[in-house]
Symmetry: D2
């Protein structure tokens, strides 16, 4: 499972320097938190146009003990690894500048997640640097960690795509998705909308919601199809939590499937994964995957139940969208790419009880 | 739409007396609130074994201005209409006693919702009074109001079934469900668990959840199948709201369907319904059905979006489970059965902004 | 208690026409809801610069059944009563225009709440129409309903001031505040911040907060002092609810006070008030005033407990800030001014259970 | 600051063994989490009468990767340190048994927090082992770490008391509390009620509350008075968060106080404390202490504002009641008692954004 360190970054030196572009947002703040506690990285710069000059702790309370201040994006210095947590569209504009600054660029946006310009054009609005699409390696380490060592540009997987792919990947590998119909119903927290906010994401309007958005045509379908090899019917709902993405996948296989087949498929794929836990049934309050149970962590929980009468498999997959669905996955990918312990800096196991969190 | 008053209750008298068995629970409290503000009913008794002797306002704050005190269930007096809001299994044990006490019994439990003992045995654990199953009339007035006039026993439809049936009924009537595959993914609030609570429904454990329950085999499937004529693949999730049930129905029709077909089906069925609003698309914060938008009201919101690429119809249906999914539906049914204005006592239009509520 | 109708509005006519300036905000939406269900008023116009031309239901879900569309503020027509729910500073700029349009202007902002320009200058930033300050009548009907009949301009009391004054007024009237030290610790919901939102009021940042704001120097102190005749030490906290203001007042009287004295003072003042309920002690879940118990209603709950060892009276007062603390109070004041039933249009008793709401 | 290791536990051995009595509750679960990640302790047993035989992860999701199973309380084995997280009253019954089993007992209940039987009798209902009251050392390390080295029994400070004492202790040390009047208004999350739940703490009833409890006579006043040397007027409110205790202290000093005096007092006391952060004013969303900003951590935030006109100091203090107010404080105390790094096992810095958590 551990990747061989064949990248350009020299990991024998004391520490690997890392900077974050777009560090005032939620994903950027989480990167700061994770890298500050990482045994191999040394934080160099954290850029924010809006907060340049202010301490990172003034925006992100967990970093209050840190001396680091936000820099201007234009003042970027050379570094070993550059994490970019900017809105979609920014990295593709600046990719040359970023690659000049760092041997390895890990992008958290959607800019380099798809393989071809045709795919990109189908789901987004024109790519300004299509030539780099096939240079970048998509990162969802449970699915493609072998691609990451030596990568120059890594495109960390999207939150809803990550939850969905982790839920369905063992079925894809076992051939159970071949010819299957799949409905994916995702519930997400407010942090997916990013820092900032507008009227619809204000506390008064967003509290207590079950709000459909992207009922059809969600862009993460492109990533999902790319990695599962099949299209899915995908719908998202905003619900009242801050962190979390929960994917419920209703799978109608082409032929009969047994519980044994399913456990075989999932255990074979995930038993050795450090960040995936199977959670299906049992007693007590927590019987199936729940975002609460992994909040703040890089863990995913996956579980399923077989509905014999309907010949349906109901798969549940839960992650923290800010960690496993964004900053944690990016750090995990960098760990793999650089040959670090995969779990380095990502050991936090979560809290109980916890509100959203 | 208004039913002809052919029941046994004499509605020419000044007011129709009504009592509530099981009035300390959430549905019972809502019945108290609705009947206290109803122009035709006069509240007689409200029973509660646990709180007998205490004022109804000591349990239900909205009733603090009311003089009524809880009675012992054994002290039930004769009345025109008896609403029973007891846990499942109680009404079937006491149905003779209840019918002795009142010309019309409106039961909010699942005891008399199914047509046959065979159905009941498939989904529940033995019925103690199966002979009354075909006497009772199921009540979801939008679907079967013509059955209600003159009924002796009315079984008010269940919350999740109501949300689902209202979402899909126009498709069933238009033949679009014939041969279709249907996945129903429901999100519900904590009031569905009833007053009382246990460890899993405590605030600390239930806040911020997206918690699968009844992934397969939910009992409301029986009602849904009974009224839609087709089985559905049904899964429930608890989410962080107190009131509300939201059904997202993914429908895969057997043949091509157009937006025009769909609007025709829904408008034809619901344009004259006083409690159903179509809500699909548009701008602003509230574009699709949401439980928040109908909280505290007897309204249902229904909407849909056609996913051309997947030949899928995504239907959204949202209700307040305590009102439209329980007490409000029972009052609505009684209004129909007794020939009152259908909207009598059910005019509250909701609040904005609102938390869960 | 009922005021004699001596105002300039002719209430003998069929219905009194009313318009709302600033109808897309939370207070404006609540006015729309209350006036739409009011037996005496007929809604004429609802202005909104941002949403002019759109249906009021597109912004406020409870009004979806209403035909009314937002008008431009500049297109204001003559009307009997004009309710103004604009941000602070707007009414003072337009007061002549508003008075030209209507016999009675009821303003929900702070513009005309204080008696003198000196007071205003102490707490705000310069008044553009100080000559009208002593023309306007402050409205907190429980305290000064006798001033309202015949008023030309009414300044509806502020939310936090209303909660505080209602909690302490009986003590002021009974002389118990004379020489007393008073600390007021207020907890408020997110609707106080108004529609719109910004980063700090986004769901992700504001969920689960206990956030001090205005630790000292809150402007509502001016109203409180004006009506209680004493200054108080006032601090506010944002907490996780949407509607609600809860004032906990710690009163240290100058001399000994008994429970009997307190009950005498509160009962004498509030026993005949239609919108104030005493709630102190008892058993069950709801023992003291709580915003949840009055959410959506024009009711205030007031209660107290005497801390013998500290010679302290702890007074609790809870309201819905959008209703009793804003739109409901304005309608109540208009009811008094026009000689309507005080409770007309304000009968909603609330919901149980309820989230925030 | 670091204590000298003079206790009876031999800390030179490989690891110090630790067990937890009452490990299925919230505080017990947090102890499990903290000790599992602690560099010096080795977890031995975790008792739970209810869950004996089940894995600790079946109750506490963050421990799902752990092999440990709950033991019966009667099967307690010898260990270096025993943490007891049982309901109040249990430790005093079993203290001899616990001391036989371990050199150091750290109790999280209130049983041994007070110095004398007279104090205990004033606030609680009779102590079954009063002779041990003066043997036990109260633990709030910022206040009395010098007492902890060599202790046999440590009584970890209570959550609300900890928040209050940390807020006021610098004022007490600086003499500013001498002759001052102090009002403490505390807001707490639902985890303070413990695992289990009842009707009042069910999600439906407790969501969105601002619920007064213990308006007067809260038992933590005893601890506060014991350590601050003055009595305070104390009132608690339940609010909608899961973790967190926030104390707002309104202090009326006997004479004039300047901002410089206050900063001097607080900085002198806390500048070298690893777990206390001053947070007062500044810009951005997080200006004052907030429970959210320290959720999941052992940090306390303290801040203040001087209200010149009222000669009042408003002090804010925020902690996570399950960590700094309970399990974290117990581990911190054990670290001090055993001569470990004070911050060992307590480094988690929190999350942003976060719901309650």
């Amino acid at each position: 499972m551990a990747a061989t360190p064949t990248g350009d970054v020299d990991v024998d030196s004391e520490a690997v320097s890392a900077s974050i572009v777009g560090a005032s947002g939620f994903a950027g703040g989480e990167l700061l938190r994770l890298l500050a506690g990482h045994p191999e990285f040394e934080l160099s710069q954290a850029t924010s146009r809006e907060y340049a000059g202010k301490s990172v702790g003034s925006v992100h309370p967990p970093l209050r003990g840190t001396d680091l201040r936000f820099s201007q994006p234009g003042d970027l210095e050379s570094v070993d690894v550059l994490f970019t947590a900017t809105p979609h569209g920014v990295t593709m504009e600046h990719i040359d500048e970023y690659q000049d600054a760092a041997e390895l660029v890990v992008d958290l946006s959607a800019d380099f997640r798809l393989d071809t310009e045709a795919q990109y054009d189908e789901w987004y609005d024109g790519h300004s640097c299509p030539g780099k699409l096939d240079v970048a390696q998509y990162a969802l380490p449970e699915v493609n960690r072998e691609n990451l060592a030596g990568a120059d540009v890594i495109a960390s997987g999207g939150c809803n795509a990550t939850a969905t792919i982790l839920g369905l990947y063992p079925l894809a590998e076992a051939g159970i998705l071949d010819g299957a119909d799949v409905v994916v119903d995702v519930k997400v927290g407010s942090s997916e909308g990013g820092a900032g906010g507008g009227a619809a994401s204000s506390h008064a309007e967003r509290s207590g919601v079950v709000r459909p958005y992207a009922p059809t045509g969600h862009r993460h379908e492109a990533e999902i199809e790319q990695w599962l090899g099949t299209s899915v019917s995908f719908t998202c709902h905003a619900v009242d939590m801050v962190r979390g993405a929960s994917a419920t996948c209703h799978v109608f296989p082409d032929g009969p499937v047994s519980n044994g087949d399913l456990w075989g498929a999932y255990r074979g794929e995930y038993d050795d994964e450090p960040f995936v836990r199977m959670q299906a049934g049992g007693s007590g309050t927590y019987r199936y995957p729940e975002p609460k149970a992994v909040a703040g962590t890089n863990h995913a929980e996956v579980g399923f139940e077989l509905d014999a009468s309907n010949e349906r498999i109901v798969v549940f997959s839960a992650i923290d969208n800010v960690v496993k669905g964004s900053a944690g996955q990016a750090v995990h990918a960098a760990n793999v790419a650089l040959g670090f312990e995969e779990t380095a800096g990502l050991e936090f196991a979560g809290l109980h009880p916890v509100g959203s969190p």
